[in-house]
């Protein structure tokens, strides 16, 4: 606490301000700070004092022409609401109900304690020996290797990227003005077969290639569902070297995972 910059309220408590706005991550952080400063039990916050200090702080932010985030104002109104609730005399007529009634501060206290927990966790996290800050390893970024590593979970990550890519393909197809009424039925099974034929003997096919022939939106949608189905059946692998990069569809060779990785490292590397 020797660092006076971090002090919101100096010893004089209400008069001397020495603040550093960035020090507070949000209203909860500010509240925690105020409570610590006044050295009170977090479970028994003197709501009037803390509310006053909190409002003074917001006032100060205004004076300094800082944009007050809405979150700070929401908290201010919460504090005032709690304060007014506590001023109301407890109703005596129904004692059973009264016992169930919570201290109006309870929810706030819970949030503060919870926040404090994660704030401390964040500090522990930041104190670790971070790669790229405290410790270094051989070429950390190896996306091309990483994406080719057999990883069961990787599909989950790709799904959203896959949908995004599909959206882009779909956007290329003009919304057709209809001239033919009969519905063309394209089965997903047909598209699965088409895709498998396309993949035959090839190492990989790009996502865009699958849709190269163009076609109706129905066809595209059937193709997309076919790819998802093939992924589910573990018959193809969908990989992407970099985000927003080309998405590759490759036949999944069950026992060939090692072969794949080796291919990726590739000739000419040694």
């Amino acid at each position: 606490m020797a660092n006076s910059q971090n002090r919101l309220f100096a010893e004089g408590d209400q008069t001397a301000y020495n603040i550093k706005i960035e020090a507070f991550e949000g209203p909860l952080d500010l509240l925690l700070h105020l409570i610590k400063k006044s050295e009170v039990d977090i479970c028994n916050i003197p709501i009037a004092t803390v509310t006053r200090q909190y409002l003074e702080y917001i006032e100060l932010m205004k004076e300094l022409n800082l944009d007050i985030a809405g979150d700070f104002l929401v908290m201010a109104s919460t504090l005032i609401q709690i304060k007014s609730k506590m001023l109301l005399p407890a109703s005596n007529d129904d004692e059973a109900v009264e016992e169930d009634e919570e201290d109006p501060r309870a929810e706030l206290v819970r949030r503060l304690l919870e926040y404090q927990k994660y704030k401390e966790a964040a500090m522990t996290l930041g104190g670790r020996e971070l790669l790229g800050r405290d410790t270094f390893a051989r070429k950390f970024e190896a996306p091309e290797l990483k994406s080719l590593q057999p990883e069961e979970e990787s599909l989950e990550i790709e799904l959203f990227e896959l949908i995004e890519a599909f959206r882009r393909v779909l956007a290329k197809v003009p919304v057709q003005s209809f001239h033919e009424v009969g519905a063309e039925s394209i089965s997903i099974a047909d598209r699965i077969n088409d895709i498998l034929t396309l993949l035959q003997g090839k190492e990989a096919v790009t996502f865009d290639e699958l849709f190269a022939e163009g076609g109706t939106r129905e066809l595209l949608i059937a193709s997309f569902l076919a790819i998802l189905e093939l992924c589910k059946l573990k018959m193809v692998k969908v990989v992407q070297a970099a985000s927003f990069g080309t998405i590759l569809i490759m036949p999944a060779v069950p026992e060939g995972e090692e072969g794949l990785t080796e291919d990726a490292v590739g000739p000419g590397r040694y």
């Binding site: 991550e25 949000g26 209203p27 909860l28 952080d29 050295e39 039990d41 985030a69 809405g70 979150d71 908290m75 949030r111 919870e114 926040y115 927990k117 994660y118 704030k119 401390e120 966790a121 964040a122 500090m123 522990t124 996290l125 930041g126 670790r128 020996e129 971070l130 790669l131 790229g132 800050r133 405290d134 410790t135 270094f136 390893a137 051989r138 070429k139 950390f140 190896a142 290797l145 990483k146 590593q149 989950e156 990550i157 799904l159 959203f160 985000s243 090692e258």
Partner: protein, 193 residues
């Protein structure tokens, strides 16, 4: 086989590899060795590297093993190639901590816990690949749910998520001095000054 031999083989592999090598991967490469032998070679290497004169240590990262530079030497290493070294703001650390401990978690849950809008931070963390979208939560509005990635483990020097200190442990570390402050102040202040 010669135990000194396998240790040096493992060291070479770890030295050359770009990514943390899992025990399974090592076993499949070193098929002529027993799993136990490989494990004890790793243990020995770990001990060797722990000597203060060494510039590297063997870290257990994201389920694998990787040789990394000693944190004590960080200042010098940063000069090596003007590496833009990782920096984390309070808000990203806070958000990361919440996601790491509470995953799968929605943006609304994160914002409730932090008390501030977290859209920007989430985007940055997604861009840095420290977190990822796990899917959608099956509640009205189908909000996206977030979780941490393998890169998160690699960056924060973690073997797995379970090796994060538990929130309870963190609290136990932090709490005593909180009580001390409250309990002792009225009594001790006079005496100490």
């Amino acid at each position: 086989m010669d135990p000194a031999g396998i240790k040096s083989v493992v060291e070479s592999l770890l030295f050359v590899s770009d990514v943390p090598l899992t025990l399974d991967r090592l076993c499949s490469i070193l098929e002529e060795f027993e799993r136990g032998e490989i494990l004890s070679a790793i243990d020995e290497l770990k001990r060797d590297c722990n000597q203060p004169a060494r510039g590297i240590f063997l870290a257990e990262i994201a389920g694998g093993f990787q040789l990394r530079s000693r944190p004590e030497n960080a200042d010098y290493l940063r000069r090596l190639s003007r590496i833009r070294f990782a920096k984390f703001s309070h808000s990203s650390l806070e958000t990361l901590a919440i996601i790491a401990y509470r995953q799968p978690v929605t943006r609304a849950e994160i914002e409730y816990l932090r008390g501030v809008d977290s859209g920007g931070v989430l985007k940055t963390l997604l861009d840095k690949k420290l977190i990822r979208i796990l899917g959608k939560k099956d509640i009205p509005g189908k909000p996206l749910i977030y979780g941490t990635t393998r890169e998160f483990l690699e960056t924060f020097n973690l073997k797995d998520l379970a090796s994060l200190p538990t929130l309870k442990e963190i609290q136990e570390l932090a709490e005593p001095d909180l009580y001390e402050e409250q309990g002792k102040l009225p009594l001790d202040e006079g005496g100490e000054r």
